[in-house]
């Protein structure tokens, strides 16, 4: 390699480090400037003063106040897991199996498919107390049960939507209507990203495609750079990562060196800073061609870690592998990792299907928390586990299914300054309505943003003449969830 090529490589390496941090959105300058954190003068903490004005959309920014959590791993269980088989023990429902629900419960009630006056269905699995906290969990969750003292269980979740696509969109973007930015996008917009070589918001998927589709992790009206980037379990981990057939690494480097040189000549001629950004984007692409496969290659993980997550074949793409990848991503500075596992829509065949789902997910979800904890990452990482709504206490489809239910469901949170071994909220004896401390989707999102250091009413973006936020015009921070 001659000297100039050496120099160029060094330059490229330097650029790539700054890449996602600085250059990849020069054109976005004024957009972010007058929206985010523009009103920080009244913020309670000195850290709320924004970093100096910059054109970099990923520059690390200080939130409104000292955050508990710096990053998020969101384990989205799409299709809506049954709280009654997993998290919310209901002996009374067992007793009333086959009976009709009380008429007063059904006033103004709307299920998705079934007639409200369908018979009650007793939980299909047994519950037992676990850990020092003595929290009751289902026998379907042997691994989650072991980490229950690290969990903050919210049994009083509520949502507005009873159909999958709108409910998933609501959970992820704070609106049933398509077109709003996802939680991950807001986080990236608000905090920037520490990951120099990887995107700030990475999406990992298992099972089938979600009802909400790409909008679940979209950027809505925020600049495109804040959208979630899927890392794929099969084929290229990042789309078009592989060179065309026949192009080896030296040919790629030679091509990019030429491109770099030609674009530099154009920059000198035209003087447009966008050209500098373009040069940097190609160098980062080159860097990503190395860093993404390295990230996805689990062969460097020790056997006990693979065992912990229950990964048998490191090449097989599944939920367990995604959980381990999530840890690897945040270790590399990625701000927000979101897993989507669309598999929980048990209108029928509940007993068998939910068992399969928990076999696929329980061990790895728990392993992730354990792994983060043993690496000292749990304290400032927020882990969220949950779907878009719950399931009816009433039966659907013969005697082995449950319909959509938006009045209550359970999610769990871990890390990020939240209480551990804690249960928040309660539902009635049938798991039908919340009886204590309801937490609406907007409240959850307000609380999660709070953990990240944001006043959810002040993390805004001006669009169509209005200051939009993740929580729309709603949301109360649930302070009781914090330790």
């Amino acid at each position: 390699m001659n000297f100039s090529a050496e120099l160029r490589l060094a330059h490229a390496r330097q650029l790539s480090r700054r890449w996602f941090l600085r250059d990849c959105g020069v054109g976005l300058a004024g957009i972010a400037a007058h929206s985010l954190l523009a009103k920080d003068s009244a913020a309670p903490s000195p850290s709320a003063v924004p970093a100096k004005p910059t054109s970099n959309p990923f520059a690390v920014k200080a939130p409104h106040f000292t955050p508990k959590a710096k990053r998020v791993i969101y384990l989205f269980q799409a299709g809506a897991p049954s709280h009654l088989e997993l998290f919310d023990p209901k002996p009374e429902l067992t007793k009333r199996d086959g009976q009709l629900p009380p008429a007063e419960l059904l006033k103004d009630y709307r299920a998705a498919f079934i007639k409200p006056n369908s018979a009650l269905l007793g939980p299909k699995y047994k519950f037992a107390r676990h850990g020092q906290s003595g929290i009751e969990l289902s026998e379907l969750l042997p691994h989650t049960s072991k980490i229950v003292d690290d969990l903050c269980l919210v049994r009083s979740m509520q949502t507005d939507a009873v159909n999958h696509a709108p409910a998933q969109i609501l959970m992820n973007t704070g609106s049933q209507q398509f077109g709003r930015p996802s939680f991950g996008s807001w986080t990236l917009y608000g905090l920037g990203s520490e990951g120099a070589e990887l995107p700030g918001y990475v999406v990992l998927t298992s099972a089938k495609g979600t009802s909400g589709g790409a909008s679940n992790y979209g950027c809505g009206f925020l600049p495109t750079v804040y959208g979630g980037i899927p890392f794929r379990g099969t084929g290229d981990p990042v789309l078009y990562l592989s060179n065309p057939k026949g192009i080896d690494a030296p040919a790629q480097r030679a091509s990019l060196d030429t491109l770099h040189r030609l674009n530099e000549l154009a920059l000198a001629e035209a003087g447009d800073p966008e050209i500098a950004a373009r040069i940097a984007s190609y160098e980062m692409a080159y860097q990503l061609q190395t860093s993404a496969p390295e990230l996805m290659d689990l062969s460097s993980e020790p056997p006990h870690i693979l065992e912990l997550y229950g990964i048998k074949d490191v090449k097989e793409s599944n939920y367990a592998r995604n959980c381990l990848l999530a840890r690897r991503l945040i270790e590399r500075g990625v701000r927000f990792v979101q897993l989507f596992h669309e598999a929980w829509d048990q209108h029928g065949d509940l007993t068998k299907a939910i068992k399969k789902n928990t076999e696929d997910t329980d061990r790895a979800s728990a392993a992730l928390v354990t792994d983060l904890k043993q690496r000292g990452l749990l304290d400032d990482t927020l882990v969220v586990w949950g779907g878009e709504f719950g399931r009816t206490p009433m039966v659907q489809g013969g005697n082995d299914g449950r319909d959509h239910h938006n009045r209550c469901f359970t999610m769990w949170l871990a890390g990020g300054g939240l209480k551990r071994g804690h249960v928040h909220g309660a539902t009635d004896d049938l798991g039908f309505n919340v009886t204590q401390d309801p937490v609406h989707v907007h409240d959850l999102n307000a609380t999660l943003l709070h953990a990240l250091g944001f006043d959810h009413t002040r993390l805004t973006y001006r669009f169509q003449g209005r200051d939009y936020r993740l929580t729309d015009v709603h949301g109360e921070v649930i302070r009781a969830l914090f330790a």
């Binding site: 159909n163 495609g209 003449g465």
Partner: protein, 1066 residues
């Protein structure tokens, strides 16, 4: 020296800056506006200076929304401000800032007193406070918001700036007059014109979205040497005559119209809507006046004698998403659809954030909650229709067919002079017979489907309509407690409805249906058991002969093809594999039908017995319900008459009897005449002739989703929805528009056409401005108003309001001609400037608001892809037609909620069609186009944001079509690029950037080729792998080329396709 060249000036030399009244300019418009005001003694300008302060800081609580208004104080009107709030203290006392509560409050340091309240996190600057103080002392004049007052043409400014050079020169283009007038204040001056090659490419990209060929560039350069202005004018004329013009500009409107090729939401089934897309292309190509362009899209169906094209145009408002998830309540998502239509109209035509008033009165703009539903009401009284779209030839063919059918009737009337008497006798007999049987419609106590996936609802006329998810297989049922003893028969009417495909009565791809089985069960009072009620003696007005199912309904569950269909007896034969179908064939299939079945024994149940009627559908094909055979609208009735039967008369004719003879529509009269003709064996000859003609009825090329106005009998009342929630209807709201805008025409009917005409009205303060701004944004990258979706009170007076208004008026004065508008802009020196940015320009005006240099920005996603295809010589010129399926990675395609079975990627020329024709699947944004920021059509998008990411870089380098383009580009260079690598490098640059490479550029390319060739020769790289795709073969090579040559050039071509300059409109 041409007049143009005399104006070719560079940036102002630094020495000159010392003399200019310079302001420090920031990129922020707010800062700019404020800075403008600071040093002068001129009176405060309410619109520019005060209104933005009020809008940003006060109106959220003291604005138009009375419901949430704090302290009863309103500051968006002068009246309100003078009156003050509930406290009775005058908020503003004219000319007395010291007595004005407003000043006291904004100056207060008391946390309880100070405004805006500390919790709002808003703080006025000292300058802003001073502005308000001075404004009050000058009399606190209010003017209405700039964008709510109709635009006028201001006098063109006479430039006096010394920087403009020759003061005697006339500025030819008004745009330049406005632009140059402001440049001195920013210490800027006009840039030199772009060199002819760059300018030629710019005009090509802007007018057609495609690059010029080297020949085009040479021709333009030669013409420009004779005179730039005529050369540009000629080029514009040439390109505007090209069909490519409409394709390029259609994309802009398609974004605004949220066009996509799938329905969205979970199911995201494909839809056919490309006829509407093609309509847009043609409308732009023929430069349809923009006011008509809008009217036809909003209400083409309501124009007198609408053409097929005008119906297709109304597809605009049906481009939104459609939720077909199983558990939906169709009405909820119908309402959401109307909300989406308002949002689209607001953004695309009015530049108003209408959606802000869906839940409450707008916080900033004068749009009340009632106003929102006033506009909603114009759009609410509609069917969501679907119609066939025929080609021009087919339309002629149909017209001829109808003529021929009339001729048959004429021959009949000639052959049978007494036809009128006979017809009347027949009609009277029919009426009399019909009167013998009384049918009592079933009143549903419950409707549903066993699976819960389908949601039939009973309408006022007792018919039952099923919308929402079309199931592959399934059923619908109706439960009733009839107050009727001794029922002998059940009548099932299959009825048309305009919410169904092609009017129904079915929900299939043709609006047809097939009922596999009709079952009746009964449940005695106090029983939970349903007992079967025996049925027999089915009769119908029409049935097909027994036949097997057409192949398109093949289903995995019926591999043995057991299923048959035909006679009405199949309805009650206890065999799910047989179905009654009454498809009368193309042109006649979307019509009503009837069947009557008898109870084996007259019903004799105790009072309170429930009857359940179940219609089973088992004759569908696979494919997520697209090939369903469900009945969309039906009505069930019971009778006690003995031996009830369906008359063997076409049911549409029988229904036509309900309308008195004089009032029948032609369709009704036709139905009766045809039925009579069929009833008389003596007329069989004519029936045979007519049937033969009908057999020639063409199968439509495609269909379109569109809006249709509801029939008067079916009028829908609009109600205000509390907090915008679909299930909280409150008081009725009549169609109306916000009072702050221009008035509706007096005495106009309260329908969609009136709304359309109101929007496309010369009196509208917004419509033309919004259109002009959108075109400006496309050409310059940023609009004159940089929030094209919002011209409301939160939008400060734009820097170039005078120019925007001048262009808006000029646009209307020139017949709303978009081509005139584009030509005006492209002819300006402002547009033609070099885009080269000097450090001084970058420092003074980083965002190029003052336009002292030409536009330079990365091309839109579609243009990026089209550029590569054009440069490679691969682009297919085919215009319009069904969207094409681009190659996408399997890991994207397989990750859909519903399996995508229709993604047939073409391997022929269609593979390389323009990106406009790439299939847009909403839940799976096209990976190539979305990497370059193309929106996916979920909602109206009038402003794309341009990003610059490594993902786009990877796409440019490695995406399948890009790689194939690089290979084809190499081949092209070898064929036509000359004899040496240096020649080829030059040709490559000219194809990609329109200009010849500088020596250093040429050498770099040649070096890459040489280096690659060396490695190829040494066998380090495989030439065949690099140079050829799975679709090309080494045998395609020119005689003098080796695979090694091509591979080396493929590597270089890939680089050139990814040059910043290639991707950029320069």
């Amino acid at each position: 020296m041409s007049a143009y060249e005399q104006h070719a000036l560079c940036a102002v030399p630094p020495s000159m800056l010392r003399h200019a009244h310079l302001l420090v300019l920031s990129a922020s418009l707010f800062t700019f506006t404020a800075a403008f005001a600071a040093p002068t003694a001129t009176p405060v300008d309410f619109a520019r200076e005060v209104q933005p302060i009020l809008a940003e800081n006060c109106l959220h609580c003291h604005g138009p929304d009375a419901k949430d208004r704090k302290a009863g104080l309103r500051l968006d009107t002068r009246e309100g401000a003078l009156k003050g709030g509930k406290s009775g203290v005058a908020t503003i006392v004219e000319r007395k800032p010291a007595d004005s509560e407003l000043i006291a409050r904004i100056s207060s340091t008391d946390e309880e007193e100070t405004m805006p309240p500390p919790k709002e996190n808003k703080k006025l600057t000292a300058a802003q406070k001073d502005t308000l103080r001075r404004w009050i002392s000058e009399g606190a004049a209010y003017t209405s918001h700039w964008a709510f007052t109709a635009p006028v043409k201001a006098a063109l400014p006479i430039s006096s700036s010394p920087a403009i050079g020759n003061p005697k020169s006339k500025i030819l283009n008004p745009i330049d007059a406005f632009i140059t007038a402001k440049l001195p204040s920013a210490g800027l001056a006009v840039s030199a014109p772009a060199d002819p090659a760059t300018l030629c490419r710019r005009v090509f990209l802007d007018l057609t979205g495609l690059p010029p060929s080297p020949t085009d560039v040479d021709a333009f350069a030669a013409a420009a040497a004779q005179g730039l202005a005529p050369a540009v004018a000629a080029l514009v004329t040439q390109l505007m005559a090209s069909e490519r013009y409409g394709e390029k500009w259609a994309r802009v409107w398609l974004d605004a119209a949220r066009y996509a090729d799938s329905n969205g939401f979970e199911k995201d089934l494909p839809r056919e809507q490309w006829a509407w897309r093609d309509w847009v292309i043609h409308a732009l190509n023929r430069d349809q006046p923009y006011d008509q362009f809008l009217s036809e899209q909003i209400a083409g169906d309501l124009l007198p004698n609408p053409t097929q094209d005008q119906i297709v145009a109304t597809g605009f408002l049906r481009n939104g998403m459609l939720n077909e998830e199983g558990a939906i309540i169709p009405e909820q998502f119908r309402i959401e659809g109307v909300v989406d239509r308002l949002d689209c109209i607001g953004k695309a035509t009015l530049g108003l954030t209408l959606q802000c008033a869906q839940c409450h009165t707008h916080k900033f703009d004068p749009i009340t909650h009632d106003d929102y539903f006033g506009i909603f009401a114009f759009l609410n009284n509609t069917y969501e229709a679907q119609s066939w779209v025929y080609t021009a030839e087919q339309q002629q063919q149909i017209a001829k067919l109808k003529n021929d059918l009339r001729a048959v009737d004429d021959r009949l009337k000639k052959a049978e002079p007494k036809w009128a008497e006979k017809f009347a006798t027949w009609e009277n007999q029919l009426l009399a017979d019909r009167g013998k049987t009384t049918w009592i419609p079933v009143v549903a106590a419950e409707t549903g489907s066993t699976s819960g996936l389908n949601h039939p609802v009973q309408l006022a006329d007792r018919s039952i309509l099923t919308e929402g998810q079309p199931s592959t297989r399934g059923d619908i049922f109706v439960i009733t407690t009839p107050d009727l003893a001794g029922a002998t028969g059940l009548r099932l009417e299959a009825l048309c409805h305009d919410d169904l495909p092609f009017g129904g009565p079915g929900r299939s791809l043709y609006g047809t249906w097939a009922i596999s089985e009709l079952e009746v069960t009964s449940q005695l009072p106090d029983s939970t058991k349903w007992e079967k009620v025996a049925l027999h003696n089915a009769t119908a007005d029409f049935s097909e002969s027994a036949r097997t199912l057409e192949r398109e309904w093949d289903a995995a569950f019926d591999k043995e093809q057991r299923r048959t269909l035909g006679p009405v007896a199949f309805l009650v034969d206890g065999n799910i594999d047989t179905a009654w179908r009454a498809d009368r064939g193309p042109g006649r299939r979307n019509t009503d039908s009837v069947a009557v079945v008898q109870f084996a024994e007259p019903l004799a149940f105790p009072p309170g017995t429930k009857l359940k009627f179940l219609l089973k559908f088992h004759h569908s094909g696979d494919d997520n319900g697209r090939h369903n055979c469900m009945l969309g609208r039906c009505r069930l009735s019971l009778t006690t008459a003995p031996d009830p039967r369906a008359a063997p008369v076409d049911y549409a004719a029988l229904l036509s009897l309900d309308t008195p003879a004089g009032q029948r529509t032609p369709r009704q009269s036709d139905a009766l005449f045809t039925a009579w003709r069929a009833s008389d064996p003596a007329l069989k000859k004519f029936v045979t002739q007519a049937d033969a003609l009908w057999k020639k009825f063409p199968a439509a090329a495609t269909s379109v989703l569109h809006l249709a106005e509801r029939s008067p009998a079916d009028t829908r009342t609009t109600r205000l929805l509390e907090r915008g929630a679909w299930d909280k209807p409150r008081h009725a709201v009549a169609p109306h528009v916000p009072a702050a805008l221009h008035a509706l025409p007096v005495d106009a009917p309260a329908d969609r056409l009136t709304l359309a005409r109101w929007i496309a009205d010369r009196r509208s303060p917004l419509t033309a401005r919004v259109a002009v701004n959108r075109v400006w944004q496309s050409l310059f990258g940023t609009g004159l108003v940089d929030t094209p979706e919002d011209f409301g009170t939160r939008t400060p007076v734009p820097l170039h309001q005078d120019l925007l208004d001048w262009l808006a008026v000029d646009f209307m004065e020139n017949g709303w001609s978009q081509k005139h508008l584009v030509r005006t802009i492209v002819s300006s020196r402002t547009y033609q400037q070099s885009s080269r940015a000097t450090p001084a320009q970058l420092a003074r005006d980083p965002r190029n608001q003052f336009l002292a240099r030409g536009p330079r920005f990365r091309a839109d996603a579609e243009v990026v892809r089209d550029l590569a295809l054009s440069i490679a010589g691969l682009l297919s010129p085919k215009l319009g037609g069904p969207s094409i399926f681009p190659p996408i990675p399997e890991n994207v395609l397989s990750y859909n909620y519903g399996k995508v079975t229709y993604w047939d990627v073409p391997t022929g020329p269609d593979r390389y069609r323009r990106s406009l024709y790439v299939f847009r699947k909403r839940s799976m944004p096209d990976p190539m186009l979305s990497a370059f920021d193309a929106p996916n059509g979920d909602f109206s998008c009038v402003r794309r944001i341009r990003s610059n990411t490594p993902l786009a870089a990877l796409t440019g380098l490695n995406e399948t079509i890009m790689v194939e383009a690089a290979q084809a580009f190499a081949l092209r260079l070898w064929r036509e690029g000359g004899a040496t690598d240096a020649d080829r490098a030059t040709h490559a640059y000219r194809l990609a950037t329109a200009r010849a490479p500088r020596p250093a550029e040429r050498d770099a390319v040649v070096q890459l080729v040489a280096g690659s060739r060396a490695r190829l020769r040494q066998g380090e790289l495989k030439a065949g792998d690099i140079a050829f795709s799975s679709l090309t073969r080494p045998t395609d090579l020119p005689a003098d080329a080796t695979p090694i040559d091509l591979a080396a050039w493929t590597i270089a071509a890939r680089v050139i396709l990814n040059l910043d300059e290639t991707l950029t409109k320069n």
